[in-house]
């Protein structure tokens, strides 16, 4: 049997690499996992100060709005970077062991999914304690999964770009900055005209749905949900397909 087809082995690798990446990320910090929480919280404080105190923007519930935005944006950012990061850090493994590159990239991204799961639970807890958690909250799993698929799909594309272009990391870093301000992460959407443009962006759609299900108590438009799901699944399928199609040549190209 070709080692690529040994599914049990590949699953063991995904698990072990993801867990060790997760540990490595927080191992060197005395605060451990708390550091992973502290950094978005500091950002939250900064955004709230700037928007509320300096610019005077934001009505009731703005803190929750920004909190949800920052938690899920941080995941999107980390996930899309970690695939590329895994490919650069695990070049040695790819050249010494028969291993599909998709497994390396997927396990790199998987560790950010662990963080996402923990942070989502903590977020729900905060909302529940604050008394703003909607009874629809369990449905938020759907847009969270959509965001996960979207991030993973883009992560595969970014990692693939790295194979040809070594400055992909720098470019993606800049692109993420632009994307951050093109997505209503820290500012509210005021007008319909603004919404029409902003919700062309699938990250914005996911964030909208996550916020909605977590805090609102009636159902959003079905069409909006369906289109978001289709788009996210589509991007994931495209990213995965494009990556898998070229992965045989990745070890020798790196």
């Amino acid at each position: 049997m070709h080692p690529w087809r040994d599914r049990a082995r590949l699953l063991d690798i995904v698990r072990e690499v993801a867990v060790s990446d997760f540990r490595l990320k927080y191992n060197d910090s005395a605060l451990g996992y708390a550091w992973g929480l502290l950094s978005p919280l500091v950002m939250l404080g900064i955004y709230l100060t700037v928007f509320r105190k300096i610019l005077g923007i934001g009505g009731r519930g703005f803190e929750i709005y920004v909190l949800v935005g920052v938690v899920f944006w941080t995941f999107f950012q980390d996930c899309t970077f970690s695939g590329l990061d895994a490919l650069t850090r695990k070049t040695g493994i790819l050249k010494a062991v028969p291993l599909p590159a998709v497994v390396v990239v997927a396990s790199g991204m998987f560790s950010t999914f662990i963080t996402l799961a923990i942070n989502s639970l903590l977020l729900v807890l905060v909302l529940a304690v604050g008394g703003v958690l909607s009874p629809l909250a369990p449905l938020a799993i759907l847009p969270i999964m959509c965001l996960g698929l979207l991030a993973a799909g883009i992560g595969f594309l970014v990692a693939l770009a790295y194979v040809d272009f070594r400055d992909t990391g720098l470019i993606w870093h800049t692109a993420l900055q632009a994307l951050f301000w093109l997505t209503p992460v820290v500012y509210p959407v005021h007008s319909d005209a603004m919404a029409e443009v902003l919700y062309l962006n699938p990250i914005a759609r996911c964030l909208f749905l996550i916020r909605w299900f977590l805090t609102a108590s009636f159902f959003p438009a079905t069409r909006f949900i369906v289109l978001t799901v289709v788009f996210c699944v589509g991007v994931f399928a495209l990213g995965l397909y494009a990556f898998v199609r070229r992965q045989r040549l990745i070890p020798e190209t790196l």
Partner: protein, 249 residues
């Protein structure tokens, strides 16, 4: 059994030192030099046989073993390997200095294809086998190079695959380490395992192999008894600079 038939491997080596998006925008495209690292290589390793591949730098040895291991796809020809393979191309690949000895055993073990459950059950035994039982929870980076090599080799041997692929991996340790490796490999040979070695260390190959194959500039130039092949290998002229570049691929 390993059977390689008419194997060729073409590499595209970019002329540009760094392939960046900005450079691509300016220059429009990248240009490549093509180079055959292997051309029309055929060989057969029977079950229970230990075969060594001998060649100068840039002769295509590492490319050959990587294709047999399933890491690189061949450009032409075919490779058939029947049986489970333990590719020991680099000892301790994937080791992480900041993780504990135990975590590294699990990580390296699953990468080599050892089932996680087996590793968890035998972890204490493996660490003891490497003589590191006092350091199970220590960070790997605090261990000496020799200790790390011992640990890696002990894990690698747990793979229990009947086909071993070894590329210079044993050249790193000191004499005691090599003696230990050699003893273990001899034991494997008696047990009837199969192995393909790649090396330019003639003494090691002579001590272990039934047969040697000599590669020069990507072609098989000889195959036969170790003593004769070593003479042939020594008579080869040094590799040219162009093909030496392929070694780093």
């Amino acid at each position: 059994m390993i059977e390689v038939t008419g194997l060729s491997k073409l590499f595209r080596i970019p002329h540009q030192r760094r392939r960046s998006f900005s450079r691509w925008l300016v220059e429009g495209r990248f240009t490549y030099e093509t180079l055959y690292a292997l051309s029309d290589v055929s060989l057969r390793v029977e079950g229970g046989e230990f075969v060594g591949v001998l060649g100068k730098n840039g002769s295509g040895k590492s490319t050959l073993i990587r294709i047999v291991a399933g890491i690189y796809p061949p450009t032409a020809g075919s490779v058939v390997v029947s049986g489970r393979v333990a590719p020991i191309l680099e000892l301790g690949v994937g080791f992480h200095g900041t993780l504990s000895v135990l975590d590294n055993v699990l990580l390296y073990g699953v990468v080599l294809g050892i089932p996680r459950r087996k590793l968890v059950a035998e972890a204490a035994e493996i660490v003891a086998g490497a003589g590191l039982e006092r350091f199970t929870d220590a960070r790997l980076e605090n261990l000496s190079t020799g200790m790390k090599m011992r640990l890696a080799f002990t894990v690698a041997l747990r793979a229990e695959a009947p086909i071993l692929l070894i590329d210079e991996a044993l050249a790193v340790g000191d004499e005691a380490f090599r003696e230990r490796c050699l003893a273990e490999l001899k034991r494997r040979r008696q047990r009837g395992d199969t192995a393909l070695f790649v090396s330019h260390e003639t003494t090691l190959l002579e001590a272990l192999c039934d047969r040697l194959i000599v590669l020069d500039q990507g072609r098989v130039v000889g195959a036969g008894r170790p003593a004769e092949m070593i003479v042939l290998y020594r008579s080869l002229r040094p590799a040219s600079g162009a093909s030496a570049a392929v070694v780093d691929k």
